[in-house]
């Protein structure tokens, strides 16, 4: 179990509440999508974030509405942690007109630019340069915003990792690169595909701080993020945070996961579960009561049910939508 870090003043009651709620939302949302998908209702590819909640939530707990994030193909968790609307997300996954992207993007492209969520991304490694660009705007416009780039262990071998981090480093930009090392890229182990021992070790190649944390410990992530984001906001440049984590489901829905051992799966679904650990933690810190947590759980449950209902009742996009939004003025 996680050691109580009493010095963590920034983990206020409100923060803890928010974090618990968001973690539950992600878990519930993903479990639900998993169920619906297995019934054959949902179109396309879906990559679920369940199991990795502590990362998105521990990081985004420090962000405000002006801050930016870039995400991945496994983007639902980042969206929720950045405050995207559950109804709009679920509708998007259904391909409905009421979706956050009017149904045109789908699971792999959910975005809410107004909220600083610059999009899930179907291209592995696509987010690095995009995070740099948002941070460049922040720096030039002196907005005080930071940009967080979430990426997987697989993405850490793509050329954009190198180009993006180097750019952020030489321009001293407020970017936090957050590796979600869940051990696998599809069916390929991190240990096979990456020559580094830890992704965070690669930070040295750019003269920026690199830290590795237990990514299933929301408080550890929260703490690491706090330092990094403060640093970035104070104009001291980028940080690379590696969060060691695990995805509860397969790479995408339908993956038998033969490449994972059953002990590993077992352990992560039970003892190491991020939400139970966070719960225990805040209970033992007496930040929130059992009762309060239950209330949150119920609220979340209802919100997700609601989102599904909303999505199912929503209409599909109008035919004319095929040709809108290609250009600001379609030609």
């Amino acid at each position: 179990m996680t050691v109580v870090r009493s010095e963590l003043k920034s983990l206020t009651r409100e923060k803890a509440k928010w974090m618990y709620e968001k973690m539950c939302e992600i878990r519930r949302f993903e479990d639900k999508v998993h169920d619906i998908f297995s019934k054959g209702v949902l179109p396309g590819f879906v990559h679920l974030y369940a199991g990795e909640e502590a990362v998105a939530v521990g990081i985004c707990a420090h962000l405000n509405g002006k801050d930016y994030i870039t995400s991945t193909h496994r983007g639902h968790g980042h969206c929720i942690a950045k405050g995207c609307d559950l109804d709009g997300m679920m509708a998007e996954i259904y391909g409905k007109a009421t979706g956050l992207c009017k149904g045109k993007g789908g699971s792999m492209h959910i975005a809410d630019v107004e909220k600083g969520m610059l999009g899930a991304n179907g291209i592995v490694g696509g987010g690095f340069p995009l995070a740099v660009g948002a941070a460049l705007t922040a720096k030039i416009k002196k907005s005080g915003a930071v940009a967080v780039c979430f990426f997987g262990d697989g993405a850490n071998n793509h050329g954009t990792f190198h180009e993006g981090i180097n750019l952020a480093a030489i321009w001293n930009l407020p970017v936090i690169f957050v590796a979600e090392n869940n051990g696998f890229a599809e069916a390929t182990p991190f240990t096979y595909a990456s020559s580094c021992t830890n992704i965070s070790d690669r930070a040295a190649a750019y003269n920026i701080p690199g830290v590795a944390v237990d990514g299933k410990d929301a408080i550890a992530v929260f703490e690491a993020a706090e330092h990094a984001i403060e640093r970035a906001r104070n104009g001291r440049g980028p940080t690379l945070i590696e969060c060691k984590t695990f995805r509860n489901y397969g790479h995408f829905e339908g993956d038998a996961q033969t490449y994972k051992s059953s002990q590993e799966k077992e352990k992560h679904l039970n003892d190491l579960d991020a939400i139970s650990r966070f719960k225990e933690h805040i209970l033992s810190m007496r930040l929130l009561s059992e009762r309060e947590l239950n209330d949150i759980e119920e609220k979340v449950e209802a919100a997700v049910e609601n989102a599904v209902e909303f999505a199912e009742k929503s209409p599909y996009p109008d035919e004319k939508e095929l040709l809108t939004d290609v250009y600001v003025t379609y030609q």
């Binding site: 179109p43 396309g44 590819f45 391909g95 409905k96 007109a97 979706g99 992207c101 009017k102 149904g103 045109k104 993007g105 789908g106 792999m108 492209h109 991304n121 179907g122 291209i123 592995v124 490694g125 697989g154 993405a155 071998n157 793509h158 050329g159 890229a185 599809e186 069916a187 390929t188 182990p189 240990t191 096979y192 595909a193 990456s194 038998a256 033969t258 490449y259 051992s261 599909y316 996009p317 035919e319 939508e321 095929l322 040709l323 290609v326």
Partner: protein, 344 residues
């Protein structure tokens, strides 16, 4: 002897035969084996590609020849170029053709140009297999059909098969071709079955196939759209119109002669290409005929293509995106001047 195989099985069989025939043939790509270096994993449980197309190959040929790669397309596609130039005959898998964005340099400026820039003193016997096509609800970054980009680039050969039998024979040609070949596989065709000859055979790259004979109208269709064309042709028969359906099978080189000969007979041309319309394979074939076949043309050349927009996610929109037999009939109605055709 022929058996019914799916498109995916046919592609798999071609790779197996190629690897059996020549030990220089290797296969590399993301998860083409799957589970590299996972101790407890039995090779028969390994993924064999994200769609299972390469399933079983690692069992038969081992991880020395069926090589999982990191997500580093520039790296491993680039490596496959010189692996080819120095004595291997690699099949490199680019999972989705959309990922060419991560490795265009290696394909366009290296693979395609080495031989020319080196005055003929290199050859690059490389095959890049890649998935394309809309209709899978895979949205804008996983649904493109980008063969036009490759066809534009001299030095590459571009193959887009429409049936399991063609896929097998063309892939075997591609692997044993001494030039770089980009081999397109429509992800929505993988489960489509067809009769496939067993054993090793190859179909020459650059030779179109007349998939249906006809006298009144030529339809040239690319990849999966060959099936749209055949459906439209069936519907047109009821109206007494016999469409000839040509499957070019390779876009580079393009079998100009088969197309021009057909148009000389039918005097009308429709091209079906699900890719986006501008600077496309559709315009390429159309322009060919507007020049070299002009004197035989009795009607405007119609192109049925995807619209000038990204592929939308929502099923209702994606279905509108793709060509359909109905759209073909609409075009036929226009060039034949008989509106009743649309109602077939």
């Amino acid at each position: 002897m022929t058996r019914k195989l799916s498109f995916s099985q046919a592609v798999n069989e071609a790779m197996k035969l190629a690897m059996q025939r020549d030990e220089n043939v290797i296969l590399m790509g993301e998860d083409v084996a799957g589970g590299a270096a996972v101790d407890h994993l039995q090779d028969d449980e390994a993924w064999g590609g994200v769609m299972g197309v390469t399933k079983g190959l690692v069992q038969q040929f081992g991880r020395e020849r069926v090589i999982d790669t990191p997500i580093a397309e520039a790296g491993y596609i680039g490596a496959s170029v010189t692996a080819a130039a120095t004595g291997l005959r690699p099949i490199a898998e680019l999972m989705f053709n959309d990922f060419i964005g991560s490795c265009l340099d290696e394909v366009m400026n290296q693979a395609a140009k080495l031989r020319y820039m080196f005055g003929g003193k290199a050859k690059v016997p490389l095959t890049i297999r890649t998935m394309h096509g809309a209709g899978f609800r895979a949205a804008a970054q996983h649904s493109q059909s980008l063969y036009a980009l490759f066809t534009h680039i001299p030095g590459l050969k571009v193959v887009v098969p429409s049936t399991p039998a063609d896929a097998k024979g063309l892939l075997l040609s591609a692997v044993f071709d001494d030039d770089p070949v980009i081999f397109f596989e429509d992800k929505t065709l993988y489960n489509v079955k067809g009769e496939v000859e067993d054993g090793f055979y190859s179909i020459p790259i650059g030779k179109a196939d007349v998939k249906r004979k006809g006298t009144d109208l030529t339809i040239v269709a690319i990849g999966k759209q060959v099936h749209t064309a055949l459906k439209a042709a069936e519907m047109l028969t009821k109206k007494g119109i016999e469409a000839e359906v040509i499957d070019p099978r390779s876009l580079s080189p393009l079998d100009e002669e088969t197309i021009l000969t057909s148009v000389a007979k039918t005097n009308r041309l429709i091209v079906i290409d699900e890719a986006t319309p501008r600077c496309s394979a559709a315009t390429d074939i159309s322009a060919l005929v507007a020049d070299k076949g002009f004197d035989n043309l009795d009607a405007p050349i119609k192109m049925i293509t995807g619209p000038h927009c990204p592929v939308p996610f929502s099923p209702v929109l994606e279905d509108l995106y793709l060509p359909t037999p109905e759209k073909v009939l609409q075009a036929v109605a226009e060039i034949i001047g008989d509106e009743t055709i649309v109602a077939v």
